[in-house]
């Protein structure tokens, strides 16, 4: 019984989870300090909104769920790419493309919602292919390509929308037409959830996206395809040696990642309650996928929870207005991400607290033992990596 508990306590999963929780805690504390600095008298009010607004009413809570859905998708997009060794900072562009394809399918082609979602996926896949191909065939860093294509995507979509007047609202020509008016079948169904939660925002998007997350989890961990993708991400050379086509996998990985982000765009804009704006700045939803993925260490199931968390505090952030700017939430999120850089340090610290390990005590033991070595005769790689963990971090 004790050994089972000890094993659980020593498992890397637990210390990862606790490290994430610690990052979140510290991030929130930092946020509170910032609130206190800006407006001391209202700081508790602000903190209260952040912590509790999301759960304060059914309507607010359904907003949390409804906003988490596209976030899950962009989080999956970034996380999937991370798992396969790539940094997809282009989720924003792929999301935008997905939204455009979805709206085009819905408004112009009068397709039903699920077809429009597939169109969204297609749009994202196409847009994800570009950075993938550039990296695989031309060795261009995927971060820069993705950034460039974020902007190119924005302009392409804006240009296209401006030239397809049927997509635009009659009155305010910089937003898309109301979906209810254009094509009701394109709106994502509610299946009674709106009555259940008492909010017009609620639909099945959260269910769709959570299912996709589970599917991605299975693909990554239980299939040969996932095995190959991860091998490529961890060690491109070794995977080539194993007969895996690394170039093909890089492209596939970015295409899938793009597709996931694209679905996100479709999910959000096919809800019937949001209208796509033709503006000059990049959509944030794609970038918010990054902290979602990092917090969950790219685990698809974990991403469901980190999306809910981030969406939750975002709702809190909006509720803080007008006393505080909702941008404070982004500050909190960025602090949390930054802290995940400390995660190795945090993990080691937590591990040591949990298991009463002490590097010095270990050294003493070895120093005074008569049989010094493990009989292997070589300074093991394990010894070296252990050394770097205990010595390197304090440099």
């Amino acid at each position: 019984m004790m050994t089972k508990f000890k094993k659980f306590v020593q498992s890397p999963g637990l210390s990862s989870f606790l490290a994430s929780v610690a990052s979140i805690g510290i991030g929130l504390i930092f946020g509170y300090l910032l609130l206190a600095f800006l407006n001391p008298s209202m700081s508790f009010y602000g903190l209260g909104k952040i912590l509790f607004a999301g759960a304060s009413s059914a309507e607010k809570f359904s907003k949390v769920l409804y906003q988490a859905a596209p976030l899950i998708m962009t989080g999956l997009a970034v996380g999937f790419a991370f798992k396969t060794g790539l940094f997809n900072i282009g989720a924003s562009g792929q999301y935008t493309m997905g939204a455009f394809f979805a709206l085009y399918a819905g408004i112009i082609l009068k397709m039903p919602w699920w077809t429009a979602l597939l169109a969204a996926m297609l749009g994202g896949m196409i847009w994800g292919a570009f950075p993938g191909v550039c990296k695989a065939l031309f060795n261009v860093n995927e971060v820069i390509t993705s950034i460039m294509f974020n902007w190119i995507g924005l302009f392409v979509v804006n240009l296209s929308m401006s030239n397809i007047p049927q997509m635009l609202d009659r009155i305010s020509a910089n937003r898309t037409v109301n979906l209810a008016a254009a094509n009701k079948s394109a709106i994502i169904p509610k299946w009674g959830l709106d009555k259940l939660f008492g909010s017009p925002y609620m639909n099945i998007s959260i269910l769709i996206t959570a299912s996709v997350a589970v599917i991605i989890f299975i693909v990554l961990n239980k299939t040969t395809f996932g095995y190959e993708l991860k091998a490529c991400g961890y060690n491109r050379n070794a995977s080539i040696y194993a007969g895996i086509n690394a170039k093909r996998n890089i492209v596939l990985s970015m295409v899938i990642s793009g597709g996931l982000a694209g679905i996100g765009g479709g999910i959000y804009y096919l809800s019937g309650t949001a209208q796509f704006l033709v503006i000059k700045s990049l959509l944030n939803m794609g970038f918010n996928g990054i902290p979602v993925a990092l917090l969950a260490t790219s685990n698809p199931v974990g991403i469901i929870f980190s999306s809910l968390f981030i969406s939750y505090i975002q709702v809190g952030g909006e509720a803080m207005q007008p006393q505080f700017s909702p941008e404070i939430i982004n500050i909190i999120i960025s602090v949390i991400i930054y802290l995940s850089a400390f995660s190795m340090l945090l993990k080691g610290l937590i591990n040591r607290i949990l298991t009463h390990q002490n590097a010095r005590r270990e050294k003493e033991r070895v120093l005074h033992s008569s049989a010094g070595n493990s009989g292997e005769g070589i300074v093991t790689d394990a010894a070296i990596s252990n050394k770097s963990e205990s010595e390197g971090v304090t440099k």
Partner: protein, 330 residues
């Protein structure tokens, strides 16, 4: 003809931020750290220097001593950039974290912080910081009045003249000298190519990498101010992707200062062509298409991609960049 001077002048003013930020990226990468946070650094540099400019304007100091005030603003931008970049250095060099994590966090933090701070100082909803007009250098500074019909040279020099331009050009010359002709430059490059070799001759790789990142903070901060000036509509908590653009310029320039200068001019030109598309006779005007200027706005990004695609094969990045240095893995 005057149009040409106009275009050239605009190209220079847009090239300057690209140049200085790309140089910053070069110092960082040459020492071994990939600096993805240039975007955030630019914003922070711009934020604090613009706040200073506004306060110098309010106190009247700026109107009386514009060049001095501008110089101080540049220093403020650089200093803010250095401090901000140290967070990246902490995460990447000391904690040996993935260099993209620290960078992404800083890039998210900067615009959010800028908006919050601007709100706090200027009042709710006022998120633009307007730059006072005296920052622009006019003919008056040199003692003669602007002509009503300026010729080519006068247009080229004075249409968009700000102190940041000559300062950045001086920094370019300094960079070339420092990288290739000084003891510091030699050691910095060694840290980015073969940190174990540098360590084995007693060089402190960690300190040098910190300095490399700090220099990128200095140059990036100044670049943020330069960008805001070039953009012309005040500070709006964004630098429109220039931080990443500068990385592309750096790669295209093969991490060499003079080539980076050329690359910066090249890309700035494309950006400018878009804005002047109406006035340039031989460029298609896409009369049938609505909002055709989106095509031109896309142009610099598309050109960047094409250039990267064709040059990335031969590019020679510093060998040890992106790999955190760990003494025990000798």
């Amino acid at each position: 003809m005057i149009i040409l001077a106009d275009i050239m002048s605009a190209t220079v003013i847009f090239a300057i931020p690209l140049l200085v930020v790309a140089l910053g990226g070069m110092f960082s990468e040459r020492s071994g750290t990939i600096n993805i946070a240039l975007e955030g650094i630019m914003i922070v540099g711009a934020l604090f220097s613009c706040l200073y400019l506004v306060s110098a304007d309010k106190s009247g100091f700026g109107a009386v001593h514009p060049l001095l005030a501008m110089f101080i603003a540049i220093l403020v931008a650089g200093l803010a950039g250095i401090i901000f970049s140290l967070f990246l250095a902490l995460a990447s060099v000391s904690l040996k974290a993935d260099q993209t994590i620290g960078g992404t966090a800083l890039n998210m933090f900067a615009p959010a912080f800028a908006i919050v701070l601007t709100w706090a100082i200027q009042g709710q909803g006022q998120t633009t910081i307007n730059i006072p007009t005296w920052v622009r250098i006019t003919q008056d500074t040199f003692g003669f009045t602007a002509s009503t019909n300026p010729n080519f040279l006068e247009t080229f020099i004075f249409k968009n003249l700000y102190l940041t331009t000559p300062v950045v050009l001086v920094l370019l010359a300094l960079s070339i000298f420092i990288i290739y002709k000084t003891k510091f430059g030699l050691r910095l490059r060694a840290c980015g190519e073969h940190p174990q070799a540098a360590d084995s001759v007693g060089i402190n790789v960690y300190v040098l990498r910190y300095i490399g990142v700090a220099i990128s903070g200095l140059l990036g901060g100044i670049g943020g101010l330069a960008f805001t000036i070039a953009a012309g509509s005040g500070f709006q908590s964004t630098v429109a992707g220039y931080g990443f653009f500068a990385l592309a310029v750096m790669i295209f320039g093969n991490w060499k200062p003079l080539r980076i200068f050329g690359a910066a001019l090249f890309f700035a030109l494309f950006k400018v062509i878009g804005s002047y598309s109406g006035s340039i006779p031989f460029i298609p005007s896409f009369s049938g298409i609505k909002s055709a200027d989106y095509i031109y706005q896309m142009l610099p990004y598309v050109v960047t991609m094409l250039v990267l695609v064709f040059t990335s094969r031969k590019s020679r990045a510093p060998k040890a960049e992106g790999i955190p240095y760990d003494k025990s893995t000798r």
